[in-house]
């Protein structure tokens, strides 16, 4: 994964002069990144209607879906640009087709964590023949937000994965 994410040297580090990487790693960045595992649960509201709501991932057994939500909150006084969220599909889980979303983002997927593309661009070779990759073969998801994240604003990236 280190190869997949270029380790940029931040402006703050340049200003700090000769301090090592360890030192600026302790500085606070402009984004608070949070990951939450939840599951959808059917509840009956006061009107007796069945509705679905997300609750903290509780009893999860094979075959059940988990909703992963990544929230990026800009805590600086300036906008953050080119906000790109990466999330590997957790081990033991399979991505559920067409469930990734993030308002204002372009979503691509990767089979190897290096090359990203939309579903039609991802192929695997099986028995000598190429075919389009299935959603459960994706190993990483990337959300690239088109607009800068304004101070105080949050970008949300979400996907569902089923426990194998």
């Amino acid at each position: 994964m280190k190869k997949g994410i270029r380790n940029y040297i931040g402006a703050a580090a340049i200003l700090a002069g000769s301090l090592g990487g360890q030192a600026f790693a302790q500085d606070q960045g402009c984004i608070v990144l949070k990951s939450v595992a939840e599951q959808e649960k059917e509840v009956v509201n006061a009107k007796g209607e069945k509705t679905k709501q997300l609750v903290a991932a509780a009893k999860i057994v094979p075959g059940m879906e988990v909703v992963w939500t990544v929230t990026a909150n800009n805590i600086c006084k300036v906008p953050s640009e080119k906000v790109t969220i990466n999330n590997p599909v957790p081990e033991h889980m399979s991505y559920v087709a067409d469930t990734a979303f993030g308002a204002g983002s372009d979503i691509t997927y990767s089979l190897d964590g290096k090359t990203f593309g939309v579903p039609t661009e991802l192929t695997v070779t099986e028995n000598g023949a190429k075919r389009q990759a299935r959603a459960d073969e994706y190993r990483q998801i990337r959300w690239v937000f088109r607009s800068p994240l304004q101070p105080g604003a949050s970008a949300v990236a979400r996907f569902r994965a089923v426990l194998n």
Binding site: A25, V32, V36, G63, E81, D112, E137
Partner: protein, 385 residues
């Protein structure tokens, strides 16, 4: 660190579709389920720029999140995989188990399969069901429940077990009464041993009578020796603890899905000693050719009683025979399989119940599926008054 190795995924898309939003999807074919107690981890990352300058990656954390940059920063968001309890009890041969009155340790064979996501202990509860369902679904015949077998015990077979068509292994003296750590997608054969009441004790135990027995299987916690049933907790759940979810199938013979029980039935059929009796005149004291002798007063008659067995090998087989009216027993005339049987208190030895057996067998033993030579044959003589 997340590995990007290409995994073979065996969860079919259909399964994914079925489980949308469901809390406890019902049984589907188990493949390689993620074992319970596995911790699933996730850490996202964000790259961004400020004023056109790329910033150090920030990695996610649960709870309040993380804003400290660095590829090694943040912490994993995790949950523990819970226990999906899927299991099945089956009767193995869809045929009644033949027994005989007084026969002990009669063996009915079941199979228990574990499709949970990990190894599992199981409690085995044999019982006489009070109101068994009609059982035509598994047996060729819709057996009734005429009497109760006694002293029911469950025993786990040491015989190899595999999925597919079950076999019917023989009981080999096994003593374990619960299933210890049955592996994922593995199975065990389970015996019910039970004793057959004597007809004298339970008059319903007669040829052709049936007794339905039930094997109930419950998953139990490890190290409890099959004692403590797994119990799903209430809705509030600890994402960091392994908890149980019942996911077994049901709907056969009254089984309910997802209730933590699976059960199956077997039928004991009281088999089938057949007694036949014939009589011949030995001598009338007048006719010279014995075959032409007539049954006149004073004539000597020989009765022949033949007992064959279409059921299991029996123990404790006895014969009771009265001397016919208007005849007198010829002292010392009784034989069993050609060997003399001493009179008892001056009377024919089978006036009160006396043991019979196949030739060369211990007293009371009538061999199963008796051939002509294996039948127990009792002869005695009387004279006509």
């Amino acid at each position: 660190m997340q590995s990007f190795k290409q995994h073979t995924r065996r969860v079919a898309l259909a399964v994914v579709a079925l489980s949308l939003g469901g809390l406890a999807p019902s049984a589907f074919a188990a493949t390689i389920d993620t074992n319970f107690d596995t911790t699933v981890v996730n850490r996202a990352s964000v790259n961004y720029s400020v004023s056109g300058v790329p910033q150090t990656v920030i990695r996610s954390a649960p709870g309040a999140g993380n804003s400290t940059p660095g590829a090694g920063g943040g912490s994993d968001t995790t949950f523990k995989v819970d226990k999906k309890l899927m299991f099945l009890a089956e009767e193995t041969n869809s045929a009644a188990t033949v027994t005989s009155p007084g026969l002990n340790n009669v063996v009915a064979v079941f199979r228990v399969t574990n499709n949970s996501n990990g190894a599992q202990d199981f409690q085995l509860n044999p019982s006489n069901p009070t109101a068994p369902p009609a059982i035509p679904a598994l047996f060729a015949q819709n057996y009734g429940d005429n009497f109760d077998m006694t002293n029911l015990r469950a025993r786990v077979s040491n015989a190899a077990c595999s999925s597919g068509a079950p076999t019917t292994p023989a009981y080999a003296g096994e003593t374990t009464a619960y299933i210890e750590q049955l592996g994922e997608d593995a199975c065990k054969y389970v015996f019910i041993l039970s004793d057959t009441p004597l007809t004298a004790t339970v008059p319903a135990v007669v040829n052709g009578a049936t007794s339905v027995v039930k094997l109930e299987v419950r998953p139990t916690t490890d190290v409890s020796n099959g004692v403590t049933p797994e119990a799903p907790t209430a809705a509030a759940d600890d994402p960091l603890a392994v908890e149980a979810v019942f996911a077994e199938s049901g709907n056969v013979l009254g089984n309910q899905p997802n209730d933590g029980y699976s059960f199956a039935y077997d039928v004991y059929l009281v088999g089938t000693l057949t007694v036949s009796k014939s009589v011949a005149v030995i001598s009338d004291g007048f006719t010279l050719v014995a075959a032409n002798a007539k049954a006149i007063p004073g004539a000597t008659m020989e009765y022949t009683i033949t007992v064959s067995n279409d059921g299991l090998v029996t123990s404790g087989a006895t014969l009771t025979e009265a001397i016919p009216a208007n005849t007198t027993y010829v002292a010392g005339s009784t034989t069993l399989n050609g060997a003399s049987v001493a009179d008892v208190a001056g009377a024919m030895p089978y006036v009160n119940p006396g043991a019979i057996n196949s030739p060369g067998q211990a007293a009371g033993v009538i061999l199963a599926n008796t051939t002509l030579a294996q039948r127990a044959v009792v002869k005695f003589r009387v004279t006509i008054n």
